[in-house]
């Protein structure tokens, strides 16, 4: 691999990591109640369960996209499903990045804000993404967990305790 390609991948990884961190912070600021519900989901369901649910839904979505691609007129529906999948994964990512930040910040103190958690988690994941192959694989695992978290949220949100955050 030439140095130009390595530089491009590095810059792209930094952009993805920092961009997602900033987007997570913005989403947490815009929809604090939903973010709080997602935090409860990540804390009350194990990582393995979220990962399994995420990879299962990703697999089914892949099959759906393959089937839809057989019929060209349905291509627009395929694009819509892909877009929806990205959005749903990002919703879960808001909580996943916060969970990683929470774990990291526990090394320092146990009373940090959501802002600090998201920032610490985002920076950690951005750094992990820079690690070739292994780091990118970990990032993909986290994306699957994010999808699982979102699915959990979609199915359990009615049973979640009412948020006290009215901002």
């Amino acid at each position: 691999m030439n140095p130009g390609a390595i530089l491009a991948i590095t810059v792209f990884s930094i952009m993805i990591g920092l961009g997602l961190t900033a987007a997570s912070l913005a989403a947490r600021g815009c929809w604090p109640n939903i973010a709080e519900e997602l935090d409860i989901i990540t804390l009350s369901n194990s990582s393995w369960r979220r990962f399994f649910l995420g990879i299962f839904n990703a697999f089914i979505s892949l099959l759906v996209l393959i089937v839809i691609s057989k019929i060209p007129p349905l291509g627009i529906i395929g694009l819509a499903i892909l877009f929806l999948l990205i959005i749903v994964t990002f919703i879960g990512f808001i909580a996943e990045v916060n969970l990683w930040g929470r774990r990291v910040m526990l090394l320092r103190d146990s009373t940090s804000s959501s802002f600090a958690h998201t920032l610490a988690g985002g920076l950690t994941l951005s750094s992990i993404l820079l690690l070739p192959f292994v780091g990118q694989m970990i990032f993909f695992i986290i994306l699957f967990q994010s999808l699982g978290t979102s699915v959990y949220w979609l199915f359990q949100r009615k049973n979640l305790p009412k948020s006290q955050n009215l901002s």
Partner: protein, 199 residues
Amino acid sequence: MNCDAALILMYDLVDGEISANDQQLLNKHLSDCSHCQATLKSIQKAEKFYQEEFLVTPSVEVANTITKNVWERKNVVSFPLKQSYSSTQKILYYVGAMAASFVGFVYLAGSLAVSQLITKIDFSSYLSNINQSINNPNLDINLNQFAQVWRGTLTLLLNINPWTSHSNIIKVLTVLLTLFSIQFAVNYLFTQRKQDKSL
């Protein structure tokens, strides 16, 4: 010293925060005032009761166990699901869900098998034989009616079979419907359970 001032000193006495001079003054007042003697006794009694009944110091083992449990569970958030089913209800729901899944599976697998068989057998000659039988004037009328009903049923079955349909849209929609049904069922069964006790 009046009784109001003595009352303040009595509380200081019980708390062990009275000076020697104040205690001397209080003792002098108490020797002359039976009402304050009774008040002091009741205060001392109440203080003794609180110390014995409420201020229990846990043993080191108990304190360590409590701290450990709180520490281990401090990040765990649990919330109850609204619906709680009895064992009988659970069994009924699972049996119902399995029966429905089995029927769906048999329908899809059976229709797929039929569509595969149709490509292998000479189905057109089979139908033509039936047609010949129907048009045969010597055939018994009951058999003729039976053949008509059978042909109609077979035609209907073939028309509603998604795998033998000539339209690709119907095939794709059937597959998509099946995939979405599986996805929804797994997601629902996976998420509607009691919460984990630990991460």
